[in-house]
Symmetry: C2
Subunit: 379 residues, 2 copies
């Protein structure tokens, strides 16, 4: 293997595949990056066996020569060393060459590194996925869908299935649901499919977070292929594989209340900031992080919290409208702030069905996204 490559493209690809590499792996070769040169270009692969990422650098793109291949072949190099080396090389071009055995020479300007590599034949094979059924979704919408749901997955391994996001595909509609059993986020979106597909899968939250980080902000479509236990996301020059979580995701449809006893319409930012301030004094004590919302007259609500050892805070916020029954309800400030940050739009609508029942939040005139929060009992 011998090639010359543009350094900034190499850095970008290394950073992308590094997202799959864990230093805590039990399979030593997976601490490395696999580098393969063919006559078409150079492919880098990183994997922790749950997630695998493949990044391709073509020989030529938009008339620019990115890689010059002198001889094909492959090598596996320690990710932590190789990643730092390419970042600090002095020139815009890097030459890489495998010499006797798996010794690899990396040259740039007058700097010459000699790294001990590993046999690329010993690197695990990526899942083979047949690409018959393809789902297409614009990258920016996919990133939004992830952002608006993944924060609500469970951080605890008590019920492993809740650490993932449930994707339900039927016809041209995908519904994505995450819950940690105290709150729930649900977002649906239109997709394009190559047939009449139906899936009900659970994708690890961690995988979706990593995927979101390496996808560019573009409206180009991402292609998605789903198998029994794997999902593959295909973007330009990028393949992202994740295993799926095994088990049945709980049926969440009955959790979402359909009736409403109190309806509040309020400016998102003003409401978020008042909750944020009230949460400052709600860190300790018997109900950590809990704030109280009370409806007053003339469409005013009061946000408050009280930790006797520290002090108390109270703030009135003018809503745009309050309809229905008066209400006093307590909830986690963190869950409310997470939900509000995930929503878009200047105004939100909150539907309550009593102080002890879950309530739902969504942007005005947008039913594609719902945030649900369980209140906290305070005495």
């Amino acid at each position: 293997m011998k090639f010359s490559i543009q350094r900034d493209r190499l850095i970008q690809s290394v950073q992308d595949v590094m997202k799959a590499i864990s230093t805590r792996t039990t399979i030593p070769i997976l601490t490395g990056i696999k580098i393969v040169a063919t006559n078409e270009g150079v492919t880098l692969t990183g994997s922790d066996s749950d997630v695998s990422i493949e990044s391709f650098i073509p020989k030529e793109e938009d008339g620019d020569e990115l890689v010059e291949i002198h001889s094909t072949g492959g090598i596996v190099l320690q990710a932590k060393f190789f990643g730092e080396i390419v970042k600090k090389l002095p020139m815009d071009t890097v030459e890489m060459e495998v010499i006797n055995q798996f010794q690899t020479v990396i040259r740039s300007g007058k700097a010459e590194f000699n790294l001990n590599g590993l046999d690329p034949e010993e690197y695990p094979h990526l899942p083979q996925i047949s690409e018959e059924n393809i789902i297409r979704i614009p990258t920016d919408i996919l990133k939004n869908v992830i952002r608006q749901t993944v924060f609500a997955v469970s951080a605890s391994e008590t019920r492993p299935i809740l650490t993932g996001v449930n994707w339900q595909l039927e016809g041209n509609k995908i519904s994505c649901i995450a819950t940690d059993s105290h709150r729930l986020a649900k977002r649906s979106a239109e997709v394009e499919t190559t047939g009449d597909l139906q899936y009900n899968i659970v994708i690890p939250g961690k995988s979706l977070n990593e995927l979101s980080k390496i996808l560019d902000d573009t409206n180009e479509p991402v292609e998605i292929v789903i198998t029994q236990n794997q999902i593959l996301f295909k973007a330009k020059h990028l393949l992202f594989f994740s295993r799926l979580l095994e088990g049945n995701y709980p049926d969440t449809s009955r959790l979402i209340p359909s009736e409403s006893k109190t309806e509040l319409i309020i400016n998102t930012k003003e409401f978020l900031q008042a909750i944020d301030r009230a949460s400052l004094l709600a860190r300790e004590g018997r109900n950590p992080n809990v704030v109280k919302l009370s409806t007053l007259s003339s469409g005013v609500i009061e946000i408050s919290s009280n930790t006797p050892e520290v002090g108390k805070v109270v703030e009135q916020v003018q809503s745009n409208s309050i309809e229905g029954e008066d209400l006093k309800i307590s909830f986690s400030a963190k869950y409310m702030m997470d939900a509000l940050k995930a929503l878009e739009g200047l105004e939100i609508k909150i539907n309550f069905t009593g102080a002890m029942r879950p309530f739902i939040i969504h942007p005005m005139n947008d039913e594609s996204i719902i945030q649900l929060i369980l209140p906290v009992r305070t005495y």
Copy 2:
């Protein structure tokens, strides 16, 4: 106590005095910020008993009204709560009022916080320092003097005196020295004094780091007053007190070699980057972080390192001149990079007196700063 104050000025002062406050203090009241309102303005104080910082906000500055005093008085408020509250208040103006006992109301817009405070009479008094003898130094020069020396203090408490920077004042010249016994940094500067002063003190490195962070980038003078066991830095609206370290600082003057057997003149940035690259493969093994410098012919030097398990790196750098004996020497890449980053100027001069003797680095044509490094014996 009751006053209204501009929020951004309050935030700035809180951030400054917070630098002195430690959550690990054994004196509970020192987790608080003391706030005192007089007819002149508002003074905030933070302290961990080693360092104390006082920040004053005058009633008026440059024609702007910063504070409106309704009644004088004082209070001590929990720093971690008060600091976060002022940052998140909704309006540009904040009203603070102490009501019954030490209850304090903080109002801004429609938000109202009620904090439990403590008696300001119980807050420890700051050191009383008589200001007969004053040393004056421009703020930007003081910050440079600190930056160019403090990194070389010892991180270990084995010899506590080496965790400080030794300041020697004689006439109008101050010499500042730091060493951890493997390397040494020395910087001298001109100062203005009110008399024929002579001091030899040791200031904790930690105090100087904090001081440097809160001083503005200006060439206005800082006034310095030194007593038996305290030093006071006075900048605009700011007092910074630090205790001094007790004990005798070692005599470092004999450490600095006066002769030179090999003199190397080289571009600072090219040399720094080559050392940085060589250090990438020098992390593990028997001599962690050690790189080797060898003189070749025609003014070329070679920087290299070798960790058999990982690989090796070698790079040639063209110097501007090499005079004297040929040399092969090994040293800590970290110490060299720290020293080079502390220097100013495009070119540096390094004087070696053999592979096993300390060597010195300084900018071309500038004797006010010296960096000294002890080499490492490699086999």
